[in-house]
Amino acid sequence: SCSCTVVSKQPLASKMAGADSDDSLYPIAVLIDELRNEDVQLRLNSIKKLSTIALALGVERTRTELLPFLTDTIYDEDEVLLALAEQLGNFTMLVGGPEYVHCLLPPLESLATVEETVVRDKAVESLRKISHEHSPVDLEVHFEPLVKRLASGDWFTSRTSACGLFSVCYPRVSSTVKAEIRQHFRTLCSDDTPMVRRAAASKLGEFAKVLELEYVKSDIISLFTALASDEQDSVRLLAVEAGVSIATLLPQEDLEALVMPTLRQAAEDKSWRVRYMVADKFSDLQKAVGPEITKNDLVPAFQNLLKDCEAEVRAAAANKVKEFCENLPEDSRETIIMTHILPCVKELVSDTNQHVKSALASVIMGLSTILGKDNTIEHLLPLFLAQLKDECPEVRLNIISNLDCVNEVIGIRQLSQSLLPAIVELAEDAKWRVRLAIIEYMPLLAGQLGVEFFDEKLNSLCMAWLVDHVYAIREAATCNLMKLVEKFGAEWAQNTIVPKVLGMANDPNYLHRMTTLFCINALSEVCGQEITTKHMLPVVFKMSNDQVANVRFNVAKSLQKIGPVLDSNCLQTEVKPVLEKLASDQDMDVKYFAQEAISVLSLA
């Protein structure tokens, strides 16, 4: 058992030193034995060092003994099998190089049939990898028969694995074998089980890429059409992605006849999941079919998706608004957006579903760069302002987080009137996660709004967060101050922030007193030596007499933190005595942190 191994390692090793046996074998012997240890961690550890074992055994024994053993090891835990499948993808040299790479096929074949998807996928990935190391002859003699075996296996696990292997052998085999491979793929596309049809549908695009154009037109199109009208939603939706890949392969003049009818049908599928997939892949689709079809077909399809009855579909389409508009052909971009897209966008601003609104809010600002100043002011600004007043905080946050796009086009001043109430409301939201999110945008906002606006309107918010009742908010507020100082400089800090922070050192609430220390930790470096020594350090020293031990040990921690900013004279004459006093504090934790600071600052 595992405990024996661990306990016995040391004495055995020491005994071995005097023995005649080969010392170098011992660690390998342990690794091999642990391949079948009861403890899964030890087995995993051994599998991860499989190359060490193989190296010690040599290529011959690896092929004849280790690989047969591994082929039967498919009863193990998933994580062990996953590691094994991965290892075998890098094993070519350890079995004797490309000449012998086919020896790796049996264990990978058995791993390609296990029920666990992640393991199968990893085995397929390794098989794809080593397929490139097969010579053309070996590929036909060893690899291709394995693909055929998997493709005609009794269980769908093996047939799904086969789907991922066709495209790697196809380009490198003779035309007879090519014909067989195409036939196998066709068969799997009409398999009885949806699992296999899904696997085939998801590999259809990649298989199409390696086929000759004539076969793309004759074989792939009919398979694509069949899969795209499969009775199972889950198959149809995968065909959408394949359709995008196929469209990139065909000459423009064939697209209309061969692909578009099916894609149009998918965009209007009865199942929302299929329409969702179309919406999700819309930008790729747009690139694949080119400007003419985009103008004639995709624009109305996109309008429909933006107006879909299912919120999930609308949200997916809303996410693509900016990208879709960006990729419209330049000559008609503005007209299409203004007449076809913008009316739908306007409706989405007041959608009933908050996910739709927040998806839109995350991209809508991007339209301003595309439409330019005048259109933005006239058409988009009212939408931004409406979203800034939305009842859902996520919508408002998404607008605020993308202000930079608008800033470039019309300047943020246009928005500031509405921006401020929105920020204040979020800053005081009852949910602390919302408050946290807005704090994170503060440095960005400060940069765009400028120091005057900030001092006037937002500074008080930033200070109020320092005394929030949630620790995460106080912590984020501290970090925020540091970023603001980085932006506005040390002088600004000394005038506006530092006095307020230091004032909190006299707060009756010890949590607020600690916040002073946390702020000092964050600010000392950006404020520099002078401000730290002159203004902050005296306050820290004063707090070393605080009655609450938590404050005192945080003084020790702060001194350790700001020490590097101070000059050595100050450290020796001022900091050292304080730390020494704390090191003899009656509280254990205070002592501990004081001693730690003394040793880190080398003041002992």
Binding site: A19, A29, D33, T157, S158, P194, S271
Partner: protein
């Protein structure tokens, strides 16, 4: 219409499993029975959280007259009793449902659930084990490392067949109320789980997320009038599922229409007959089980007194209604007092959909032949009839004069009930559970 001709049915007792004591431990009471998709395996779950799997013997499979027996293949503890400390609730280990997954490789997989947690189990065989260590003998004795002159790689050697059940996934923390149903989708990658107020959709590969597809919880729980009692996926259409309610209605939902299926696409409901209305009307109309036919064209629902078959194309009334034990209508008062009225009887279809079966009291079970419009009452009993002998149909009568194989309503034993039934997916073999016994019956061919 009892049975065929001579007062005999073609059904014979094949096997009885479980102890035949009168003294039954609570944990041994069977709470789920389910054949797998080939019929080769039969699983039972009990209140003790155990699952026992029986396997049909291979040898005699070819002999048509003598069907192979089912023998224990694997036994394992699926669920343990738990305690929810946040809600101060005990969570029983009782297995509420078992559902097999379509076979995907040499191993078999099933889902089992108690009130809160669904688990995916793998049942696999092992007939080889590795042998040969470097630093110890097979029996564990240490080998001195000085004897280590060459490395040994373990070799797999044949061993006695071992059947292992291993938990592969645990789908927890998604149900606030008690899970009453699980059902695997025909897409082979998702399944649903239903509790009193919600139905969730899971992907078999992911335990950390599920999608809520039905939620009938009212904002104010005082307005609650209806709960979900059973739910099932359509056997062929991956987008269709139904759920039955405590008010006796069944809703069919189309997952293509929207992500949240609060709006049903069909509502199967029979208008109440005002003349039979009573205090018990709603209780006895509660759906205890709903099952699609194998063809996917029909759906069967079981309520307390009847079995109804619905054509999916007709929502207004069932195409067939069978009285399971209509004679109990006059006894509802006492059945309410002893809680029997809340018993949840399951029902099942024969492989060709021509016949249906459900349980009753007194260890009786009922079979209804849809084509011949014949029904029969049979008894699951190890005393009356030896294996292989045709079962004698029973008749329950209300009068005082009794013939052979007649029994009065007042003589029925309400503690002996058949709630759980399963029909072999191809052959005419049925399995049903009385209290702690599993009965397997088979039909003699004509």
């Amino acid at each position: 219409m009892d049975g065929d001709g001579e007062g005999q049915s073609r059904w014979c007792l094949s096997q009885v499993k479980g102890a035949v004591d009168d003294d039954v431990a609570e944990a041994d009471i069977i709470s789920a029975v389910e054949f797998n998709h080939s019929g080769e395996l039969l699983a039972t779950g009990d209140r003790g959280g155990r699952i026992v799997i029986f396997q049909q013997e291979q040898e005699s499979k070819s002999l048509p007259q003598c069907r192979a027996e089912y023998n224990v293949y694997s036994t394992f503890q699926s669920h343990e009793p738990e305690f929810d400390y946040l809600k101060s609730l005990e969570i029983e280990e009782k297995i509420n449902k078992i559902r097999w997954l379509p076979q995907k490789n040499a191993a078999h997989f099933l889902l089992s659930t108690n009130d809160k947690t669904i688990k995916l189990w793998k049942i696999s065989e092992r007939d080889k084990r590795p042998e040969g260590y470097n630093l110890k003998e097979e029996d564990g004795r240490f080998r001195h490392p000085s004897s280590l002159t060459t490395l040994r790689v373990p070799v797999f050697q044949p061993m006695d067949l071992m059947v292992e059940a291993s938990p592969r996934r645990v789908y927890a923390n998604a149900h606030t109320y008690h899970i009453n149903s699980i059902s695997v989708n025909s897409d082979n990658e998702t399944y649903l789980s239903a509790d009193d107020l919600r139905i969730n959709l899971w992907h078999l590969d992911f335990t950390d997320r599920s999608f809520n597809i039905v939620d009938i919880k009212p904002v104010n729980m005082e307005e609650l009038t209806e709960v979900i009692t059973a739910s099932e996926f359509h056997p062929l259409q991956c987008n269709t599922f139904v759920y039955g309610s405590s008010k006796g209605s069944v809703r069919l939902c189309d997952m293509r229409a929207s992500a949240l299926c609060d709006q049903h696409s069909k509502l199967f409901e029979e208008p109440e007959d005002p003349s039979t209305r009573s205090f018990f009307s709603e209780i006895i109309s509660s759906i205890s089980d709903v099952k699609f036919s194998h063809s996917g064209r029909y759906m069967m629902t079981r309520d307390y007194l009847t079995l109804k078959i619905w054509d999916l194309h007709m929502e207004s009334r069932p195409v067939e209604t069978y009285q399971v034990h209509g004679y109990l209508r006059s006894k509802l008062c006492s059945l309410y007092e002893n809680d029997c009225i809340f018993d949840k009887f399951e029902c099942c279809w024969r492989s060709d959909d021509s016949e249906v079966m459900t349980g009753s009291y007194n260890n009786f079970f009922r079979m209804f032949n849809r084509d011949a419009q014949q029904d029969v009452t049979l008894e699951a009993s190890w005393e009356n009839g030896s294996p292989g002998c045709p079962l004698k149909p029973w008749r329950v009568c209300t009068g005082s004069r009794r013939k052979r194989n007649e029994i009065g309503v007042d003589c029925l034993d309400f503690s002996r009930k058949i709630l759980y039934t399963s029909w072999h997916p191809q052959d005419n073999v049925v399995a049903l559970a009385t209290v702690n016994n599993l009965y397997i019956f088979q039909e003699k061919p004509n």
